[in-house]
Symmetry: C3
Subunit: 163 residues, 3 copies
């Protein structure tokens, strides 16, 4: 969903219960998007999908079918491996806002614009997950943004108990 | 997955353990679909994807590629904003069966048939999530049903402790 | 993501905390893929998406758009119902590595290559989920592999408490 993480606003903690453990809290934001970049809910942290793209609503160009041809971004040419690493680094940044890292990821979803990018993405992805590897799904899909790969993860990081 | 929520049958609670807290329970059903509309599992509530559509298996029409052209629904013409609000209201109804509401949503997935609908959907979606905004992914996809947007959410709502 | 489950390597347990309950542990692997077939994280078990396919990177053939025409598999011709049952059986095997079964599934994602396969898939799928039915999403999508249906599930199975 979100592009490169630039700023992260800490939001007000929202308690869901009088109990000490349960809480949800969103972290990070994206101008123009009603989303958090990471959300803690109990022992889990969810992320918004990340891709290596920028997105200027005024600049988006669509083809006749409505597919995004350009989102107005001014990013330099880059490989699928570059994009994969960038997306995972953005996810790591988002997770860190919520008190965890890529090491705590337990499940991942990967989307590619072109199936032929699979092997290059798979190799770059593997650099980040050496042990206790997350489960994963991967599909070809049409993106809303001008990028070749997007990734979304769920992490598990129990909160420190208060006592 | 499911169309407008019309009826909701409370299903038999299924205990997974002798412990008091852990349980899973499905809520709501859809004729012809082996699914629940909402499922509580511990502190989380999952939903089936919802779109503003009807679906009559005998009436579905496909094009040469197998894409759904019409699902036989008799819904009036409506905007993407209308469909977005309808889907979110259906999700809220499903969540309420399981004891929570859209306010407890922590993660969302959104799918659009046409990327050009992004801005209108995004604005209507934002009306429902003003604070502690859920993480989100959004993609263009081909639906099984005759609609322009589908949404699925995960909520976090710890159960009241028995004591 | 993964093809037919053939071997399952038990991986080293990774404790995330000094507490007795919280832990994550990946189960099963797939040659060439940096993934686990199942991952326990606290009370939940995630799976990688499963389809009834094989996948030989050296044999994959793409069409002009980059879509997968053949993944080099030598599986016999089979129906969508066959593929659905095979995917669900593979998921059950993966879940069993992590100490649960299809009976513990609370949420499912289903993807089809051709929407016209919906009814046959839906019927076969229903054979596996008779009561307390999981929530579900279902979409048409382009696969990275040569199959007609893929399924991914989340299960809820609290760990036995140590005491």
């Amino acid at each position: 969903m979100a592009r490169r993480v630039k700023t992260a606003k800490k939001k007000t903690m929202k308690r869901k219960s009088a109990a000490s453990r349960p809480l949800t809290q969103g972290y990070g934001s994206e101008p123009g998007f009603p989303i958090s970049l990471a959300m803690r809910a109990g022992d889990y942290v969810f992320t918004s999908a990340q891709g290596d793209h920028e997105f200027d609503p005024a600049m988006v160009k669509y083809d006749a079918r409505g597919l995004v041809v350009s989102d107005g971004n001014t990013l330099p040419p880059r490989t699928v491996a570059d994009e994969t690493r960038s997306a995972l680094r953005s996810l790591d940044q988002a997770l860190r806002l919520a008190g965890c890292t890529l090491e705590d990821v337990v499940d991942a979803s990967v989307w590619l614009r072109d199936p032929r990018d699979f092997h290059e993405m798979n190799k770059a992805y593997g650099e980040f997950f050496k042990k206790n590897q997350p489960t994963r799904s991967i599909f070809r899909i049409d993106f809303m943004f001008d990028c070749r790969v997007e990734i979304k993860v769920t992490a598990y990081k129990p909160q420190k108990s208060p006592g």
